[in-house]
Amino acid sequence: MCLSVPGKVLEITEEDGFKIGRVEFSGITKKICLQYIPDIQVGEYALVHVGFAISKLDEKEAAKTLKLLAELGQVQNESEKGSSS
């Protein structure tokens, strides 16, 4: 039920008083209500749940998380080297 997927905003329009985005999820596009993240721009990613964008994906933070995880491996390699010498 909380299943939510990130999608890329391709186009932003207005419909029936709502800010609506055409959002792409790995090849499929859907109309999504953007009322809750009104400052999103075309080209940015939004987390979408039951037809509503509920959060904007922060790409800088995404990269940071992955970098930290990669560094974890380096630290481990270093400490292994350290202990075996």
Binding site: P6, G17, P38, H49, G51, A70, Q76
Partner: protein, 367 residues
């Protein structure tokens, strides 16, 4: 998204958990979506068995009270009603039948992707009463709040909602208050927090001295979340941390929170299999009572009947696992479910069954 499934990075995290671990810890992932990912990718079997994962109550479908399911079924059977629901409610067993059976008997039941679709169906069918089954945690509430708000704005008179919204923090508190509780740290549900932020968890973490780490849903998110909890436990800390920084901020989505408060009031609520939890649910405010299907449709007090074999209540509280249920994989399967945790895609029994854990039935105890 694939980068969050990288095997090498996953090994790094598992190695780090093993490296810092000095004793046994019990960690609960609250969200059923995370349970599903954990069982699917076998994450619980990757790290040392000193870390035990128990699966939490985060399956809204599972905790919707049987009496409310029966009420939904009674409304859905009416000839003047079009009943709209998300797909995962279709097979949830009521006392006698489920939505799918009502549909087979001629009920007009439609699966919708969004509550706005239900609202559209209402405008297209002015001679019918369109009822939307609003089930879900905080993640789903903003969408439903917007749909009711819009219905009122546009004076759509034939639209209503049967509301079964539940809130996560009170459920975590209830688990911690239980005398049988074993949980020492939590992975908080990232998508709930994308709406609500995580400030609500700070007093829980401080009062009960439990680490709470907001986590995402990809394998690496979950593994990193567990590492962060283990780190805190090993260092004797109890804080709220955020693993899911790409989606979640401390304050959450304030526009969504405002809309929730415009439309709903907090209320006490019964959780199926668990019982009543104070201030753990939402109900429509009085201004929206003409959109409240529970008030519009008087249904007779229905005699409810749970399966006597099913232990899903204990499973939802993390006290037992599906393997502990004698019916698991035998009398109870997704085709013939005895309890809700076997039906919903987020239910623990369904996750265990789908990924073949029933084949190990009776042998997993030693893990």
């Amino acid at each position: 998204m694939d980068e969050y499934r990288d095997g090498k990075l996953a090994r790094n995290i598992v190695n780090e958990i093993s490296r810092i671990l000095t004793r046994n810890w019990v960690i609960m992932e609250v969200c059923g979506g995370q349970t599903h990912a954990i069982v699917k990718y076998g994450l619980d079997q990757l790290f040392p068995k000193q870390v035990e994962l128990v699966h939490g109550p985060g399956c809204p479908v599972c905790v919707t009270p049987l009496a409310l399911i029966d009420k939904a079924l009674a409304i859905a059977s009416r000839h003047d009603v079009i009943f709209c629901s998300f797909g995962d409610m279709m097979r949830v067993p009521g006392s006698v039948d489920d939505l799918l059976q009502i549909k087979a008997q001629g009920g007009d039941i439609r699966i919708v992707y969004s509550p706005l679709d239900a609202l559209k169906i209402a405008s297209e069918n002015p001679d019918k009463k369109v009822v939307f089954f609003a089930v879900g945690f905080e993640t789903t509430v903003p969408a439903n709040a917007m749909a009711v708000w819009k219905a009122k704005e546009d004076s759509v008179r034939n639209f209503s909602m049967l509301v079964s919204h539940v809130l996560v923090p009170p459920a975590m508190t209830a688990i911690l208050n239980s005398p049988e509780n074993r949980v020492q740290g939590f992975l908080a549900a990232g998508h709930v927090c994308s709406v609500m932020g995580y400030w609500e968890y700070e007093p829980i973490s401080a009062d009960y001295r439990v680490p709470i780490v907001v986590s995402g849903f990809e394998p690496l998110d979950i593994l990193e979340g567990i590492l962060m909890v283990v780190r805190q436990l090993e260092q004797g800390k109890a804080e709220v941390e955020n693993q899911y920084t790409r989606i979640v901020t401390r304050q959450g989505n304030t526009l969504a929170q405002e809309k929730i408060l415009d439309v709903f009031d907090v209320c006490d609520r019964k959780w199926r299999g668990i019982g009543e939890i104070p201030r753990s649910g939402l109900r429509l405010k009085d201004e929206f009572k003409s959109f409240d299907a529970a008030k519009i449709f008087e249904t007779k007090q229905i005699q409810t009947q749970e399966s006597p074999l099913c232990i899903s209540g204990e499973i939802l509280q993390g006290l037992k696992k599906p393997d502990d249920c004698p019916a698991f994989g035998g009398q109870c399967t997704p085709e013939n479910p005895l309890g809700t945790t076997m039906v919903s895609s987020e239910g623990t029994c369904a996750a265990f069954y789908q990924y073949g854990r029933h084949e190990f039935h009776g042998r997993t105890e030693s893990r």
